[in-house]
Symmetry: C2
Subunit: 328 residues, 2 copies
Amino acid sequence: MHILIIGAAGMVGRKLTAGLLKTGRLAGKDIEKFTLADVIQPSGIDFKGPVETLAIDLSAPGAAVTLAAKRADVIFHLAAIVSGEAEADFDKGYRINLDGTRYLLEAIRQEGIKAPYLPRLVFTSSIGVFGAPFPEAIGDEFALTPLTSYGTQKAICELLLNDYSRKGFVDGIGIRLPTIVIRPGKPNLAASGFFSNILREPLVGQEAILPVSKDVRHWFASPRAAVGFLIHAAEIDTNRLGWRRTLSAPGLSTTVGAEIEALRRVAGEKAVKLIREVPDPKIDKIVEGWPRNFATKRAESLGFVAETSFDEIIRIHIEDELGGKIGG
Amino acid sequence: MHILIIGAAGMVGRKLTAGLLKTGRLAGKDIEKFTLADVIQPSGIDFKGPVETLAIDLSAPGAAVTLAAKRADVIFHLAAIVSGEAEADFDKGYRINLDGTRYLLEAIRQEGIKAPYLPRLVFTSSIGVFGAPFPEAIGDEFALTPLTSYGTQKAICELLLNDYSRKGFVDGIGIRLPTIVIRPGKPNLAASGFFSNILREPLVGQEAILPVSKDVRHWFASPRAAVGFLIHAAEIDTNRLGWRRTLSAPGLSTTVGAEIEALRRVAGEKAVKLIREVPDPKIDKIVEGWPRNFATKRAESLGFVAETSFDEIIRIHIEDELGGKIGG
């Protein structure tokens, strides 16, 4: 089994690689080879078999052809520029997030014309394909109503993935990831960053800023759950999906207030005291258009599993990122 | 007011042109100029002002730029290859139906960068963006679930139209047309052709073949209603749409059996006798995946109007195509 990860240097890509290395198997087969690609050179990994790392821009001429020619059995396509950047740079967003994915699909199809080739393609979509107004819990048949160029690009890729799969050019499956918390690393400027910041920073004794009301409700899963979704997506029988190849992943719908209560239970009052409320109406307004809750019957019936409490999400961060220790 | 019609040589394009010529006005303003474009040279028209006709392939290099440079006030974009052809020729379908539309949107955006330009763009989408399984009546918030490449291409264009409108690059509105009956002209090979054939042919004393059960239910509007949708779309205040710029047009949900009963009422038993039932399981299977009914609250609340009986649809054909006379 040869695995290609496009976007391997990103947070989810690195955790996915680590997860696959740990078991050494996927879909009941031994992993024999890794190809790791990203716009920046991915780090090497400690693996017994061959590993190829590639610094490659999927939207550049010939890049998708090069990657498809590797004829990997499973391709994880995680590469994208984020919402804020796609909104600020319209051309770049469409080039990377739409054209890049379309080139990949087309290169796989062309590879299959040369000689039979039908790889499993696991594509990461986003809850950004939905925008207000929507019901309190977004069901599996709700229209894609993006309010950002990023969400539009992901929604279009979902449609292409369906059509290329239906035509027998690829065995595609897309997963709409919830907002991932707790994101490791430094605070970043993403509008959604505070959902992670207000937990991650206090857990190491640092102050964090909360720019919205504690009543804000949102849809979450841990990095560990995200990796679980992608591996499960690579392994399930896609015939069970019909031609609707993208699923809203399960997650946890909770409020900022409940996040903070979980922090209190896991790390105590001292940690909670490090959260400073500095209301930012601009962020408030952005967050207003974001999904708050989902009804993910399809994904659940197909065996996808997420956390059921925020305490669990915090404990996963402490285990996976802090060596089991709350600092400060 | 300068009007550009792309796809002007097609059935809807010709009827739209005729409709606009009749009133000479659109959105409360006099029409001063027509630009008529299609892959085949559109016929000239009898108009007091300037008329330019262009044989141009929207997907060819530079074509969209040429058309956008006309700086029309209202652009009707009706050009597409049909479902059957898009399914048979994958590359051509994506080139014409997706890339052509994207080039047009991008050319309009670039034109606006040179000097402020925000035309109303009326785009014809299709009920082909929906595929089974779906509820008996498809509502305004139902997911786009195409089961053809044509439907996929139209769905993607809807998403692009939303995003380009949201970003202020174009003032777009899309209309998902019902199946148009009675299509004038000769029987064609489209799988949906029989819905028109079984009425149009008997009305002029010709035999027609019915390949499906009389219980088959589908979603219809007349060519006259379709032109009405497009003109209304060019005239309404698009602020009322928010960022969901495409509407399922109203229509009439009825069975083949009810079509035939209407034919009996309008044209008598003699006409009905000309319908020969020759079941075709292949067409039956295709039709199974097609929408049967819609709940078009949004379009109705915005003033779009369709026929409410099949008798009316047949009478419109007799008035508009047969000079008021039932032949035979």
